[in-house]
């Protein structure tokens, strides 16, 4: 029994010694200046979302002013995007500016859990560090009412079964394909019209510019088989060759205008007939300058127009 009292006394003495030692230790810490600076809690303006009528999946946005009594507040980092308690998940945190230029911290929360019946749950309170040491932004929790959208007991009536059915296999969207197809066809059609207009312009220019084409037009006004018709064809041949051409110069003409090669025989025949027509003053058989000129004009336009 004596031993027990002795131990009890020893324990009491140790406890008393410990109590006596504690205050000087605190005093020493204060003297060293190791006690943290006083923390100032700032409660800026908070624009809270509508406090009622939410269901699972809804997103609520809370705006916290980043200014307090004329002092701008900056955050060293954005609040973490994470589940905040049992009901909400913080989905986005961003800085927004209103029309007056005021900066706001916008926080999006999504309701990710739902009570079994309508109930007020709390948007979490915040305690955020600012870039100014010792100053923290503090907001209060805000109550919101959240309600379930499904009955506790399945009604098993149309649309209110145990679960909503699967999404159907999606169709491939044909509208973009149709749009691209129509666009390509319209463009091709427009370009074809442009190309035809260009081809017509080229033909029109060729008829006014190229020697045989001009001759063919002029010959329409002349009497068929008359001397002026023969002379006009000669002039067209001369213009094409860039010099006066006679029967023996046919090779130089073809060298200058190779596209006339398919008509080599007919041209030789024309020059022979021309000799007879002009110098023997006899009509010629089998050579028709108008037909010859038309054919040459066609070859000429095909090659040059």
């Amino acid at each position: 029994m004596h031993h027990s009292y002795w131990r009890l006394r020893l324990l009491s003495a140790c406890a008393a010694l410990a109590i006596l030692c504690c205050p000087p230790c605190h005093a020493q810490a204060a003297a060293d200046g190791s006690v943290p600076a006083q923390i100032v809690q700032i409660t800026p303006d908070v624009v809270s979302p509508r406090p009622f009528g939410y269901v699972l999946g809804d997103v609520v946005t809370q705006h916290i002013a980043l200014e307090h009594e004329g002092e701008s507040l900056d955050l060293p980092e954005m609040p973490a995007l994470e589940r905040t308690g049992n009901w909400f998940e913080r989905r986005d945190a961003r800085i927004e500016h209103d029309a007056a230029g005021q900066r706001w911290l916008a926080l999006d929360y999504q309701v990710i859990n739902v009570p079994e019946e309508l109930r007020a749950i709390e948007l979490p309170a915040l305690d955020l560090a600012t870039t100014r040491e010792g100053r923290r932004i503090v907001t209060q929790a805000q109550p919101l009412t959240v309600a379930p959208i499904t009955p506790t007991v399945v009604l098993a009536r149309a649309g209110l079964e145990e679960m909503r059915p699967d999404a159907p296999a999606p169709h491939i969207a044909t509208a973009p394909l149709e749009r691209r197809l129509h666009g390509a066809l319209y463009l091709a059609g427009t370009l074809i019209a442009l190309w035809l207009a260009l081809a017509a312009l080229r033909q029109w220019q060729a008829r006014r510019r190229l020697p045989f084409s001009r001759a063919a037009i002029e010959m329409r006004r002349l009497e068929r088989g008359s001397l002026p018709v023969w002379r006009r064809l000669h002039r067209a041949l001369d213009e094409t060759a860039g010099q006066v051409v006679r029967g023996h110069d046919l090779a130089s003409l073809l060298l200058h205008a190779p596209w006339l090669k398919p008509m080599e025989g007919e041209l030789k025949q024309f020059f022979d007939a021309s000799q007879t027509r002009f110098f023997a003053d006899r009509p010629t058989e089998g050579v028709e300058p108008v037909t010859l000129c038309s054919r040459a004009a066609r070859l000429e336009r095909r090659a040059l127009a």
Binding site: N86, R91, N113, I149, E162, M163, D166, A167, T174
Partner: protein, 179 residues
């Protein structure tokens, strides 16, 4: 000569346009064929090759009760799809897990709970993309009724299975400090 060059250039562009139109017409025809197959039978559509056909394949596997095959197909598809298709993939994947969980029901909570958690994950991922997906909201709520996340549960320990030993005095291998 300038007009001639311009004409040649125009002709080349026309040819390119017509080739492009022909390619688009071919793709449109393929898309219409696929849509007809989807309307008539999902299985037939699954033989094509496109993200939509992969979706049809996953649906077909799910319809044949090949749970694992369907999950694999939906998961593969979720990695390289976007927009409305991704939403449908996440929704159907959630449904697949939830349907499986409901088959076990609250009586086999040990089996249904992990599946319900998987379904909740899919629905929540979908609601993150589209908070207005009402079918996902409905089914997530059903999953939450099957595997509720009550405040004390969320803040402390994982939920206990129903009918499990809750009182420490009746648990095996637990003593109250007696020798």
């Amino acid at each position: 000569m300038k007009l001639r060059s311009l004409g040649s250039l125009l002709a080349s562009v026309i040819v390119i346009c017509l080739l492009y139109a022909a390619w688009e017409a071919y793709r449109l025809s393929q898309a219409r064929d696929f849509n007809r197959l989807v309307d008539s039978a999902v299985d037939a559509a699954a033989t094509q090759s496109s993200p939509e056909a992969e979706f049809a394949r996953a649906m077909s596997l799910a319809a044949r009760n090949d749970y694992e095959g369907a999950v694999r197909a939906y998961k593969d598809l979720s990695r390289h799809s976007s927009g409305a298709l991704l939403q449908s993939v996440l929704y159907n994947l959630g449904n697949l897990h939830l349907r499986e969980a409901l088959q076990y029901g609250p009586e086999s909570i040990g089996k249904s709970l992990p599946l319900a958690e998987l379904s909740k994950g899919s629905y929540r991922e979908l609601l993150r993309i589209n908070p207005e997906h009402w079918d996902a909201k409905y089914n997530l709520e059903r999953a939450l009724r099957l595997a509720p996340e009550r405040e004390e549960v969320a803040s402390e320990a994982p939920p206990l299975p129903q009918n499990s030993e809750r009182a420490v005095t009746t648990m095996k291998a637990f003593t109250l400090g007696l020798p």
